[in-house]
């Protein structure tokens, strides 16, 4: 069993972990990056479609290319990497974190001053969206299907129904079609699509794949293998409407019904949770309610673009390094509250130690001509107008911090009358 000491431990070798580790190294911290897979890159390894890097590199590239650039930068750095290494436990005693890691060379106990959790997301399962019926083979989460197609070269099926119009579902609709399958339709329980508009266009419209809104899959039918699914219209509360059921013959059901931040590792630490993001409360650096514990990337909240993940993870990595190397003084923080049609906003608190902060938010519904009002206590300090807001698209606002007087900032979003 080996015992090691580092300044910063980064858990997860996907785009978030890579960016955090590289930046922490730039700050001259001694960094360990732990990843449970054989190859770095996280989920990007299987995201072979383009659309990555437009903001960061001004170039459209595929997920693996985006990851490769970070991996090359990592190789140039002094970051130590453990692959095939799984973190079993994270704890804090006095001022030190202990990360217990299972690797194929033995167990490792690592002590560090700060930790960045970059463990990504998992997919919501079919039981969690109340799909019933038989239990045949042929039901896949979109991410699992993507792994099979892009990393192993096997197809989940030939006649496919997709539930969920999130980006992963849309991307897979196109991917499966390109590889010779027939995608019979994409069903979405909400009244509006969950994924980006451009994906609706280039993944569904391009291939004449119908999108059925306000519809869900209620049952799977089939003995050994999926033979059909039952779909039904749903009401505003997404409850199936009796009498609208239809049977769609198919051999595969692909589910793209939401991502859940993977925070099991830090749940035992009793951090302040954020129900809206399904994760934990953080400040603009990604620091949680536990000092020197940072969370970055999709584990913090589900991002729509990896470029933002890298941007925010760099900030987390840099801060994690700084706090590990030097004692920082306690700085005043203000809480951030959301009101009105905001699905969620991040961060939940702002540490007042910089000139400005970038706030991110998602609208709760499709909105035209709306106003975001930012108030410092009761005083309105900013108003921004938007001609169009869509939930799948994360928006950002840069806010100057030098005039914040109260201890609460409120973000309020509503459609203009």
């Amino acid at each position: 069993m080996i015992e090691l000491n580092f300044d910063v431990v980064v858990i997860g070798g996907g785009p978030s972990g890579l960016a955090s580790a590289i930046e922490a190294d730039k700050e001259c911290a001694k960094v360990l990056l732990v990843d449970r897979e054989k190859l770095l890159g996280g989920i990007l390894k299987q995201c072979i479609h383009d659309g990555f890097g437009l903001t960061r590199y001004k170039k459209q590239m595929s997920g693996p290319s985006y990851a490769e650039l970070d991996i090359l930068a990592l190789k140039e750095s002094k970051v130590e990497v453990m692959s095939n290494a799984f973190v079993l436990k994270l704890s804090k005693n006095n001022d030190l974190f202990t990360t217990t890691i299972q690797t194929d060379k033995g167990m490792a106990i690592v002590k560090s001053k700060s930790v960045v959790v970059a463990t990504g997301c998992r997919e919501r399962t079919k039981a969690q969206v109340c799909i019933h019926g038989n239990r045949p083979s042929g039901i896949f989460n979109a991410g699992t299907a993507q792994n099979l197609v892009n990393l192993q070269g096997v197809m989940p099926g030939k006649n496919i129904v997709i539930l969920g119009s999130g980006d992963i579902g849309l991307i897979m609709a196109r991917r499966l079609t390109l590889e010779g399958a027939k995608v019979l339709g994409v069903y979405e329980a909400k009244a509006t699509p969950s994924g980006l508009e451009r994906n609706i266009h280039q993944c569904l419209e391009d291939f004449n794949i119908p999108l059925h809104l306000s519809c869900t899959v209620t049952k799977v039918i089939g003995d050994e293998r999926v033979e059909a699914v039952e779909v039904a219209k749903v009401d505003e509360r997404m409850t199936p409407i009796s009498g609208t059921e239809k049977i769609i013959p198919c051999d595969t059901l692909v589910l793209s019904v939401g991502l859940i931040p993977e925070i099991e590792l830090i749940k035992p630490l009793n951090l302040k949770l954020n129900r809206r993001t399904q994760s934990v409360e953080v400040d603009q650096y990604g620091e949680t309610s536990l000092k020197n514990l940072f969370i970055a990337g999709n584990a913090q909240m589900v991002f729509d673009l990896v470029d933002y993940v890298s941007e925010k993870s760099k900030i987390a990595g840099a801060k994690a390094a700084k706090v590990a190397l030097k004692e920082t003084e306690d700085v005043r923080a203000v809480t951030v509250e959301s009101q009105g049609d905001i699905l969620f906003a991040s961060p939940n608190r702002i540490t007042l130690d910089s000139k400005s902060v970038k706030l991110f938010f998602r609208s709760a519904k499709d909105m035209k001509d709306s106003t975001l009002t930012i108030s410092d206590g009761s005083k309105v300090i900013r108003e921004i107008k938007y001609s169009s807001l869509l939930p799948p698209k994360m928006e950002s606002v840069v806010l100057a911090l030098n005039q914040i007087e109260s201890d609460k900032i409120t973000l309020s979003l509503s459609e203009d009358k």
Partner: protein
């Protein structure tokens, strides 16, 4: 006057474009690329093609991957996406590859490797 409404797919902004079908003038774009996109979309729509190529057993053992992700060097005719993909299915890569290198050419369309792979042990 006939117009067609489009959403630009070039970047996350997703500008809503309105294109006049007679004179091909475009409104709603926040950059040149949007205007170009709208015109092309209405006359000869093109897309990037991303897919994977098979790797040999040897390459799988060396690199721990069974497939090589690739991307078309330039956008291709939208109507050719499926046939190109089918044609690419017959290729197996069995040597070193550098990110950005041309690894296949079908109907004069180049496809680039998205990542680098080693071809020999101890590189």
């Amino acid at each position: 006057m006939e117009v067609k409404k489009l959403v630009c797919i070039n970047c996350p902004k997703g500008c809503h474009l309105t294109c006049n079908l007679e004179d091909l003038s475009v409104e709603g774009a926040s950059c040149e690329k949007g205007i170009e996109y709208a015109r092309e979309e209405l006359t000869a729509p093109k897309r990037n093609l991303t897919t994977t190529l098979a790797l040999s057993e040897r390459m799988l053992k060396l690199n721990g991957r069974a497939r090589l992700p690739i991307i078309s060097k330039e956008k291709v005719d939208k109507a050719k996406l499926l046939s190109l993909c089918l044609a690419l299915g017959n290729i197996i890569i069995d040597k070193e590859v550098k990110m950005g290198q041309v690894v296949a050419t079908i109907e004069n369309i180049d496809f680039l490797a998205s990542i680098s792979l080693k071809g020999e042990e101890n590189v």
